[in-house]
């Protein structure tokens, strides 16, 4: 379809043609022409946030909870700079975002005009790609290309910066091309894996005596079909499976082969199995430093197979033996087919011994904590929250800190796309806007932000958004009155000198909820927890649940920075002395 229209109209038309139903945004001078179109149309819903960073994380949450790209519209200057954190967050976590920013008119660019900033310059390192549109006739092509780049290959955030005169100018609108991958000159991600390599992978897997599947966010990125295939592969091979923080839900936590999350705060069984395995199949994960610990002691005896769509993820941190470049779904489809149709079989005797070993590690019960009849233990709170919500269609987001790790350890995810967390950047303030994004996409679902008392204050203003749009999100604060994760590191690294990690003058969260027009709860007794959670679920409005938990609880197991997987600190060993001496001089410089 080609038609004459203004740049601002093109933006709306292109979004609709790309199947966008919802955008998150905040107006300002440089996007007023687009806002003027928004109010005069139907079919594209605009969620007005209270801070542009909130729009970014809401769009991320929307994207993770739907598999579709999140779309953001913000103004020039401060609107654009407020997006930088969210863009960086989306880049590190491979979340597809299309961010449209207003810019000063082209003839004023470079003159330090009012609310001018070099948006493409500032966002170049925190986007997958970005464009400054200087001619209205380029706008439709660039907008469609933006969606293609954001969503294909390794997904990520993109920015389209549109000067105000381009929004007013008239030009010819072009609809999206039917197959952008064929038409793009230089960007063509590879989806199919090399058949030969996949065959060799299958043979390596069949010969393995101590195999493990190490899966990550790439499985979620690849779409629900990939999770299905992963489950099939597990049942065909009976291999144990672990996942990164980003991949939770791809394989169900209730599945028999599930070892729990791996890495710094992963389970004993997952990390020990990673350390001792002889064949590691990495599926859409990127050997992050939270996973590998000390690189030279990482799975020292393993033949490593790595399935990833981004060639730059291969051999970045860890040298692998068999790279397979391609989309998880495509590669797993081939792998499962080979496994089904050939005579390949897992080594049953070896697997039996391997599972016995794994079960011995499991018996260590690494997530155990000392129960308390008077004070709510944070782990207990999450166990109760899980029990009360697991049979519903539930989406969980988190902020960043101990509560995030406990959520990953204690909340069992059965499906992909139900878990929204900031892994790579670790952005405090992510959780509330992200869960708002999920709730916008799934109005009937139970949407909970598992929060910390410090993090929640970083984007608390989005309560106002939730109230305005009737989004009954639940903010479940594990309130320990500390930046718990910071305090834990100060205990480990800095002689228990708790420099500025105690938050004095926290607000009254109940009154705060009420001030925003939501509902507040405060619970500090274990016996009141269940009833209050039931009540919270029943309320069809935004809720802040101030769950007062043990102030000084710490998150274990933990692999201290710079240590190997088999040098984990377990809860029952983590007395004050062990904690104070856990990290050697060399490890102290690590993050």
């Amino acid at each position: 379809m080609t038609r004459e229209m203004t740049g601002a109209e093109m933006v709306i038309q292109a979004l609709k043609d790309q199947g966008v139903e919802t955008i998150f945004g905040y107006p300002g001078g440089a996007v007023l022409p687009i806002y003027d179109e928004i109010i005069q149309q139907e079919g594209l819903e605009h969620i007005l946030v209270r801070h542009e960073q909130g729009a970014g994380h809401a769009a991320e949450g929307y994207a993770r909870a739907t598999g579709k790209p999140g779309v953001v519209l913000v103004t020039s200057g401060p609107g654009a700079t407020n997006m930088v954190t969210a863009l960086t967050d989306a880049l590190l976590d491979s979340i597809p975002l299309v961010c449209i920013t207003g810019q000063v008119p082209t003839h004023l660019i470079g003159s330090d005009a009012f609310q001018e900033c070099d948006t493409v310059g500032i966002t170049r390192p925190c986007t997958k790609h970005n464009w400054l549109v200087r001619d209205v006739d380029d706008l439709p092509r660039i907008l469609h290309e933006a969606f293609y780049v954001a969503t294909s290959g390794r997904p990520g955030p993109v920015v389209v910066d549109i000067p105000k005169d381009v929004q007013f100018a008239k030009g010819t609108y072009q609809g999206p091309t039917s197959n952008p991958s064929v038409s793009h000159k230089s960007y063509r991600p590879q989806l199919k894996g090399d058949a030969q390599a996949i065959r060799i992978a299958a043979e390596l897997m069949a010969k393995a005596k101590k195999p493990i599947l190490y899966t990550g966010g790439g499985v979620i990125n690849s779409g629900p079909q990939a999770s299905q295939l992963l489950r099939e592969l597990v049942s065909l091979t009976n291999f144990p499976i672990t996942s990164t923080l980003m991949g939770l839900g791809a394989y169900p936590a209730s599945g028999a082969n599930w070892l729990g999350m791996l890495g710094m705060h992963g389970t004993y069984e997952a990390n020990m199995a990673m350390h001792d395995c002889d064949v590691m199949v990495c599926v859409g994960a990127r050997f992050d430093d939270r996973i590998t610990g000390r690189i030279d002691a990482f799975a020292p005896n393993a033949t490593k197979i790595h399935i990833d769509i981004d060639p730059s993820s291969i051999n970045k941190n860890v040298k692998v033996d068999l790279p397979i470049i391609g989309d998880v779904g495509h590669v797993l489809e081939d792998l499962v087919r080979i496994w089904r149709t050939s005579s390949l079989k897992a080594d049953a005797t070896a697997m039996k011994a391997w599972w016995e070993q794994i079960n011995a590690w499991r018996a260590r019960n690494c997530l155990a904590y000392a129960p308390n009849a008077d004070i709510i233990m944070p782990q207990y709170a999450l166990q109760r929250l899980y029990e009360k919500t697991k049979d519903r269609k539930t989406y969980i987001s988190t902020e960043v800190g101990q509560h995030q790790m406990w959520a990953a350890q204690f909340y069992g995810f059965e499906e992909p796309n139900r878990w929204l967390t900031s892994g790579g950047l670790g952005t405090m303030g992510y959780g509330l806007p992200a869960i708002i994004g999920a709730q916008v996409a799934h109005r009937d679902a139970l949407c909970i932000d598992i929060a910390g008392d410090a993090s929640i204050l970083m984007n608390i203003q989005e309560m106002s958004t939730a109230v305005q749009f009737g989004l009954p999100v639940k903010v479940f604060i594990l309130n320990n009155q500390y930046m718990g994760m910071v305090r834990q590191w100060q205990q480990l690294l800095h002689g228990n000198r708790l420099s500025h990690s105690y938050t004095e003058s926290l607000p009254d969260f109940v009154k705060l909820a009420e001030a925003y027009g939501g509902v507040g709860f405060r619970v500090d007794k274990p016996q009141d927890l269940d009833g209050a959670i039931d009540e919270m679920i029943a309320i069809d409005r935004p809720v802040i649940f101030d769950c007062r938990v043990a102030n000084l609880a710490n998150c274990f197991p933990m692999i201290p920075s710079g240590k190997a997987h088999n040098e984990m600190l377990l809860p029952d060993e983590a007395n004050d002395e062990a904690v104070a001496n856990a990290i050697g001089a060399a490890g102290k410089a690590l993050v």
Binding site: R124, P125, H129, S186, D289, I295, P311, S312, L590
Partner: protein, 191 residues
């Protein structure tokens, strides 16, 4: 310059790598000639702590709007492989070729590499004569002169240019401008 080495003590990533020897490679990068593309490439190197020993860029195919960037970089083999993939990941990048690896594959020592330098030397008497005599030996040409100075134009491998410059230093060298390295593969094949 070498951020990889600087961070080795700080980051777990490089613990295993300190023993790996660094190598110098010449990469050829074919890009769309669009605004910001050079900034993307340079930002990638500075942001990720890679070295740039030399970088040249110019449009090479006008009709297709393609530019060719030639980068000489130093790093461990793992880092060089990363650089190649990271460059390839940039949306306006069409093709990245590691000319050094290609040469080795063809059993050649190195790709063809040339650099041009303009070298200004000021002096009189014996020093001036010596400068002129040496320039001849290096097959540099005089492109500007007064009774006080010469400007030499010299083309060759970077090592030759470096040698020329160091020889000119005691003879009154005042200024050098270098283009950086342009490189192509030996033999009949194109990129």
């Amino acid at each position: 310059m070498n951020a990889q080495n600087n961070t080795s003590a700080l980051s777990a990533y490089f613990l295993a790598e300190v023993s790996d020897k660094t190598e110098t490679h010449t990469l050829s990068v074919l890009v769309d000639n669009e605004p910001g593309v050079l900034a993307r490439v340079i930002g990638l190197f500075s942001g990720r702590g890679y070295n740039i020993d030399s970088l040249t860029v110019s449009e090479t195919e006008h009709e297709k709007h393609l530019s060719r960037i030639t980068i000489v970089t130093t790093g461990t083999p793992m880092v060089i492989e990363q650089i190649r993939h990271q460059l390839d990941r940039l949306v306006p990048v069409h093709k990245v070729t590691d000319l050094t690896v290609e040469s080795q594959r063809n059993n050649q020592d190195k790709p063809l590499e040339r650099e041009l330098a303009l070298v200004k030397v000021v002096g009189s008497g014996d020093k001036r004569l010596e400068a002129l005599r040496l320039s001849d030996a290096f097959r540099a040409t005089v492109i500007d002169a007064t009774t006080e100075h010469f400007v030499f134009e010299i083309t060759g491998r970077s090592s030759k240019i470096e040698q020329f410059i160091s020889i000119m230093k005691p003879l009154g060298l005042v200024e050098v401008s270098r283009t950086g390295v342009a490189a192509v593969q030996r033999g009949p094949e194109g990129l």
